[in-house]
Amino acid sequence: MKKTNTIRNRIWVLLFYVVLIGFWQLIYYLGANVFGWWKPYAFPNPQGVAYSFVGLMEEGKLVIAILYSFKRCLMGFAISVVIGVILGMFISFFPKAGNAVKPLISGIQSLPSVCWVPFAILWFGLKESSILFVVVMGSICSVIVAIDSSFKSVPPMYIKVARTLGADNVSLYRYVLLPAILPMVVSGLRQAWSFAWRALMSAEVMAATIGLGFSLQSGRDMADINQVGMVMIVIILLGIAVDKFVFSTIENKLLRKRGMLV
């Protein structure tokens, strides 16, 4: 019963996208050939996007671009996690200092990461390090906030029980606080990853010579609107894939184990 339902749902979703692509093709056709709203080369069309995809795949450029982007995103994300976890713990250990810097952190978090690009280029030049800098600045604050707020969300009862059972500080952290905050940390990291991915694209558009962001930019330079559209779709799909297959999977597993997911 349930299984046939999910299959039916999938068919519906598939159908929706088939119709959507058909609609896109129709709009393109009407706009370019019937009404003359735009020049055929000024609007991407499904067919052109598909050709562009196959073309870049055959040259191997797309795969290399994806690998480069992934590598950068992973590195930036890793740096953010390491520094962010340390800073987040620092903030929750020292609430006074924490309260002072928290407005700053949420300020930085709300700053679009492209704003860091000029700094990055002035400080690091057109190098990998400037891209990493932008990625880190774009994602680190959500790691800090996630760590801090997940410690705050631990029910006081968990700590009381541990103390009356004789837990010292090390045991309290290892066996109670860390497992207690884990699901919230994972959902914080999930958000941080998506910030990192976005920041990476801004940085690559401005400062890279290879990578998905650069492919987007080179599509513009060559006035190849289909390449631009195709790279955008690839960026979206990769973003969704990591979110769904990595973070969402881990998060659901943790929550299900605790009975917090129906």
């Binding site: 009862m157 029980v161 103390r163 009356t164 059972l165 109670v176």
Partner: protein, 257 residues
Amino acid sequence: MSIILSNVSKTFDGTKRETLSDISLNIEDGEFICVVGPSGCGKSTMLNLIAGLDRPTSGTISVDGREVTGPGADRVVMFQEAALYPWLTVIQNVRLGMKFIGISNDEQERRAMHYLKMVHLWDFKDYSVHEISGGMKQRTSLARSLCMESDILLMDEPFSALDKQTTNKLREELTSIWSETGKTIFFITHSIEEAVYLADKIIVLSDNPGTIKKVVENDLPRPRHIEDADFISLRKNLLSYVRKEVDKVEKDEYDTK
């Protein structure tokens, strides 16, 4: 270990009313103390103070002559809510406290098995917390507390979520653990019958502010039987002390008569 409360008062921050007022009480080594009193009179507060989870506003609490300054495994608490860790299974919850105090794996295994069997949860030992019922959670929490084999046991309505039969059985088990080990037990209950069955000394708390209204010594010989004439007369006696104070207890008593 003995517990001494001298002139203990507690007013919570942000409240004007005194929750506990001038409580003085000597609990001797190996005594079984039951505390009864209406809901909200400060029973759990008193337990938290002895546990060291909260500090009295005035007065002192000492255990074996040393003032209580914080919680510790010498005074294991069984809380009113089961308070298990949802990321652990039943047996992992039970073993965690023993892990904290450095008990060997073999001994952890042995005690966990012994007490989980006692509370009839051995078959459920690998269940997650969200897969067991409220009463099963309470029994897990009981097993976790007993596994610690502490000198003092502070229990906050440990059988409140259980059916009559299970309660009766666990009362017996607790009494025999107590008489075998000579623990000091501080036990909060809503049931006067339970207090008369278990306690050496019954403390009746009054409400608003919480003070000790009466201390009733219970010398009935053990094992006790709830149908015995002495048992019934002590129960009635106690009921008359608490009648005015303990609406909830009174009601429970008449309901189950």
